[in-house]
C-alpha cells in the first residue's frame, strides 16, 4: 500500500503544480489545494501507516497495551489542514475580489504591477 500512496502523493504534487501553472485563477487555487493535500498525505505516509490502531488509549487502561498509530503526524496534519483551510478560504475570496476589480480570470493579464 505504501507504494500506492507514494504514487498518489506524486500524482497530487504533479497535478497541483500543473494546475498552478495554468492561466485561470480558479485552477490556481485548486492546484494549491491539491498540493496541500499532497503534503498532508506525505506527512501521514512518512509517519508510517498502520491499520485499525487509532491512537486512543483504551477505556480501562492508562497506557497503550497494543501497538498504536503514531499520533504526532495526525496532530500535525490536523493543524496543517485547519491552517490551509484559512489560507484557502482567503485565497478563494481573493480570486473573487480580483475578478471583480480586474475583470478577468486570466492571470496573464495581470502584469501591470511588474511594469517598470
Amino acid at each position: 500500500m505504501e507504494i500506492l500512496l507514494a504514487i498518489t502523493i506524486g500524482l497530487l504534487y504533479a497535478a497541483g503544480i500543473f494546475l498552478i501553472l495554468r492561466r485561470s485563477m480558479v485552477r490556481l487555487i485548486i492546484g494549491l489545494i491539491l498540493l496541500g493535500n499532497g503534503a498532508n498525505l506525505l506527512i501521514f505516509l512518512l509517519g508510517r501507516i498502520s491499520k485499525g490502531k487509532p491512537p486512543i488509549i483504551p477505556e480501562d487502561s492508562k497506557v497503550f497495551l497494543d501497538a498504536y498509530a503514531d499520533p504526532i503526524p495526525q496532530a500535525l496534519i490536523l493543524t496543517a489542514i485547519v491552517i490551509s483551510f484559512g489560507l484557502q478560504a482567503y485565497a478563494i475570496i481573493l480570486v473573487k475580489r480580483a475578478y471583480r476589480v480586474v475583470k478577468t480570470d486570466d492571470i496573464e493579464e495581470m502584469i501591470t504591477t511588474d511594469e517598470i
Binding site: P54, L78, V82, F85, G86, K96
Partner: protein, 136 residues
C-alpha cells in the same frame, strides 16, 4: 418544496447539531473529536440553517456577529494558556482540578483552551461563509 422540508428539518437540526458539536468538543480528550471538529460541526449547523431559512434569519437568531466569537475564543484560549504563568508555571502548562467531573472527565485548563478553539473555529468559518453569502 424541498425548502419546506429543509426548513422544518433545520429547525430541529440546528439545536441537535449544536448539542452534538458540544459533545464532540467536551469528549475530545477521550474520543475522536475536540475543539476543531466540534467548531466545524457547529459552523455547518448554522450554514445549513442559513441555507434553509435565509441568511438574515440565521443572523437574527445568532444576535451577535459571528466575528465577535473570535476575540472571545482567542481571549479564552489565551487566558487559559497564560493562567499558569500566574502560578509561576510556564505558558500553556496544564492546570487540573483534582476530582473528575461527570461527562467531561478531568477538568483543566486544556478544556478551556479547547473551548476557545471551538469558539474561534465557529466564528472564523461563519464569518467567512456569511460574508460571502451577503456579498455575492
Amino acid at each position: 418544496m424541498n425548502t419546506i422540508i429543509l426548513k422544518t428539518a433545520s429547525k430541529y437540526l440546528l439545536p441537535l447539531l449544536l448539542l452534538f458539536s458540544i459533545f464532540v468538543l467536551l469528549r475530545g480528550h477521550y474520543l475522536p473529536g475536540g475543539g476543531f471538529v466540534g467548531g466545524l460541526i457547529a459552523a455547518i449547523a448554522f450554514v445549513l440553517h442559513a441555507f434553509a431559512n435565509g441568511l438574515p434569519h440565521t443572523q437574527r437568531l445568532m444576535r451577535i456577529h459571528p466575528g465577535f466569537l473570535m476575540p472571545f475564543g482567542l481571549a479564552i484560549s489565551a487566558v487559559s494558556g497564560m493562567f499558569p504563568m500566574l502560578l509561576n508555571q510556564p505558558f500553556m502548562t496544564g492546570v487540573w482540578k483534582k476530582d473528575p467531573v461527570p461527562v467531561i472527565g478531568s477538568l483543566g485548563s486544556a478544556l478551556f483552551f479547547d473551548i476557545g478553539v471551538y469558539l474561534v473555529v465557529i466564528g472564523a468559518s461563519l464569518t467567512i461563509l456569511f460574508t460571502i453569502s451577503e456579498t455575492r
